[in-house]
Subunit: 462 residues, 2 copies
């Protein structure tokens, strides 16, 4: 019998974990520089909180947790006829599906403890019972920041800046795509199907994946008349620069107020930012709760799904009984960012954390002296380890080599007598005698050089 | 309808999250200084991996995840007669119950990718369907470090050092209790019930909670004869200094090899460490997989459950088909450490992360200049924010005050003309004119002072 990770989930080895930490810390640093504060919500939520918030598709993808104990008590199994019905009776809890809905619940629950406008970030895993495939996992990390309690476009401008700062720190070339749900709403009005905004949004969302013609076919099956589709089509093929797009839109929506409002928001935001953005009128972002600006980030360098999504929602907390709080947020797809950096070979090769020095173990009583030296070095913020058992020196140095440790120390009879340690530099094989103070200096210098190299690599753009 | 967090789970507000992060980072730093490497395993594991690893009690506390889709397919509901039976048919996956069993699976799955002795740490949440009560949650964090592939007592000595370094950095006074499972095994031999080591261990484990007499009563119900209990009792009441305890033990176990081996291990470990430890012969640690030294940490300052547990296990990976790898590890109970620091008032009051400065929003076009200043400050690692919408100044400064922001900046007509900003120090109410360079210097100085204060508080012992 073999014991593997559950389908769609992954173990992370030390190197992968260091790389992931680098991504999270980079994002976190930018969030902090913008005054966002970190919160956390539980992995487990009551299903009452999650059900119905992600559309029918989303409901199917929720992981449900079986009630504990005698969960069949009071249930007449002969009365059940579907899995769905039974699931609702034997499961009260589910796993977090995204960070936005739990955040909305959080805001309603803690409304008296937060200070509006509230800028929060949250970096936690989410779970979806999706069919696993390349680059899509059942357990993956989301890195969200949201500002709620302010409907000013300044917030959108700030998010664009955050997007630029994060991807620039990660050394990834990206396109920031924007659109506005008000423009899509105006489109629904224009073709006389105001009530079908969701159908239009879902259809448009698929243009990139399945192409314009197939999307139009799909709309035909959904009761859209040929004349409605004729009205829709020119909108979907608008091309040109951002300015050209906006000017064509102004013409199309000249009599539709909500459309003009959407255009105005894009223009105001553009005026506040220095970053390059691309207005993409086919950008829709599936989730229904968006009501204003929407965002998406794509890699300029490799073909991979979106690296970020987000937008403004005017009434997310309404579903939990607290209406009228406008918010806007973005969510970085850390797993896809990882895949992107990995494919492009952009991770610093020295990213795996290791020790600075290994003390070779010559058995008792020498190991005791090694432990004391190690303790003194750690007090100086130098990472070090003592090989735990006596083995051939070659085995011990090979351990150091595999783990990327730069120096090994020999402490035997001579060294204890003289008070000097024998230090071998792993890269060159050179050996020398060092007093403890000299060793400290050597290790600190090496450390600060490594950090410098790391920062250089980290800040240098292609 | 109200929407709360699920029973036994918690939201964390910014202040709580900062405090938790401080605990995790402190522990992480010590792990890194000792050359431990970070790994992660998924929250969801196949139940085949989890079932039967935590005893009957543990099995009951596993959270099971309902299979997705039509989970009743191929199940004849009329044939089911218990919740337990049905659960096994409709759930293949469960939530991680601890970090040790997933680590054992990890080691077996990635045996070719790791370098023995392997020193890993893991800081992740675990879930148990326990009855929630004060200080006991259904979702809580474990911070584990383990060394596998070495049976040397040097590893135990290193763990003791880690324990001391972490609690000292957290500014908590603790007692490190140790015992050895080999001594408990010898005890089982001594009373002629070698096969009842588990019963003895479980009973002894309860002495602290229910007292010696009740434990003896429990053993009587489990087929222990009066003479066996008479043999056991003197062992349980051994008192005195560590040396006195060891000397009495040597006498009791003079003919029982495994007992003498346990005593020897304690003595060897004591010889390698400088930390004060307490040999506690009633310490048993419930989990069956321990085979050698066991550890527990209690607060010296307040009455609260153990802050850490751990021990040596000689065959943990055996359950996953890879026998013969010895390991030893400890697990910090971060949630209890939090409660401890909180009750003792030991958290630094300045721990909540916030911005260094807030730009007051006077509307367009001034806000655009504010955004540009903010961007330049962030490039200097200064955290700042621009109030997102125009409101009375009093509302905006009150936001700054509530969020603990030290300075606010006014950028209006005059400031744009002169190129100087008006800066208000929130604490004193003083206002002054600053060039951008002067502002930068002011904020950097304030920042480095805050960091210094923080480090001082952090390093100072009571």
């Amino acid at each position: 019998m073999t014991y593997n990770t559950a389908k769609g989930t992954r173990d992370f080895l030390p190197l992968q974990t260091s790389r992931r930490t680098f991504i999270f810390e980079t994002i976190k640093k930018v969030f902090n520089l913008h005054g966002f504060q970190n919160i956390e919500t539980p992995a487990i939520e009551n299903l009452a909180t999650l059900n119905g918030k992600y559309g029918q598709e989303g409901d199917k993808l929720l992981f449900r947790i079986l009630n504990s104990g005698n969960f069949l008590e009071n249930i007449d199994l002969s009365q059940q006829n579907s899995s769905k019905e039974l699931a609702n009776k034997i499961c009260d809890k589910g796993l977090r599906y995204d960070l936005t809905v739990p955040f909305a619940r959080f805001v309603v629950n803690h409304f008296n403890d937060i200070n509006l406008p509230f800028k929060r970030y949250q970096i936690q895993p989410v779970w979806r019972a999706d069919r696993p495939q390349k680059g899509r996992y059942r357990e993956f990390m989301q890195c969200d920041c949201d500002i709620i309690g302010s409907n000013s476009i300044v917030n959108e401008a700030e998010l664009i800046e955050i997007i630029e700062e994060v991807f620039s720190a990660l050394n990834l070339q990206v396109t920031i795509k924007v659109n506005n749900r008000k423009i899509l709403a105006a489109l629904a009005i224009l073709i006389g199907k105001e009530d079908c905004l969701t159908d239009i949004t879902i259809a448009i969302d698929k243009i990139e994946k399945i192409g314009l013609e197939k999307v139009l076919d799909e709309l035909r099956t959904k009761d859209f008349t040929p004349s409605q589709i004729d009205t829709l089509k020119p909108f979907l093929v608008i091309e040109g620069s951002n300015e050209e797009k906006l000017s064509q839109l102004k013409d199309i929506f000249r009599d539709i107020e909500i459309g003009l409002k959407g255009i105005e928001e894009i223009e105001q935001m553009k005026d506040l930012i220095s970053q390059e953005i691309e207005i993409d009128l086919t950008l829709a972002r599936g989730l229904n709760y968006y009501t204003g600006m929407i965002f998406e980030v794509k890699s300029k360098e490799i073909a991979i799904g979106s690296l970020l999504g987000g937008g403004r929602y005017d009434n997310l907390t309404g579903i939990f009984g607290h209406a009228g709080i406008s918010g806007v947020g973005i969510s970085f797809g850390a797993d896809r960012i990882y895949d992107c950096l990995d494919q492009l070979g952009r991770f610093d090769p020295k990213m795996e954390k290791s020790s600075d020095i290994l003390f070779i173990n010559f058995g008792f009583p020498y190991v005791k002296t090694c432990l004391q030296y190690a303790k003194r070095l750690r007090a100086e913020n130098i990472s070090c380890e003592v090989f735990p058992h006596e083995k051939q020196i070659s085995v011990q140095t090979s351990y150091a080599a595999k783990k990327g440790i730069s120096f090994v120390a020999y402490v035997g009879e001579d060294e204890i007598k003289s008070g000097n340690l024998t230090i071998k530099t792993m890269a060159s094989g050179e050996q020398g005698k060092y007093s403890f103070e000299q060793l400290k200096t050597l290790l600190k210098q090496t450390n600060s050089q490594t950090n410098k190299t790391y920062e250089l690599n980290n800040n240098c753009k292609d």
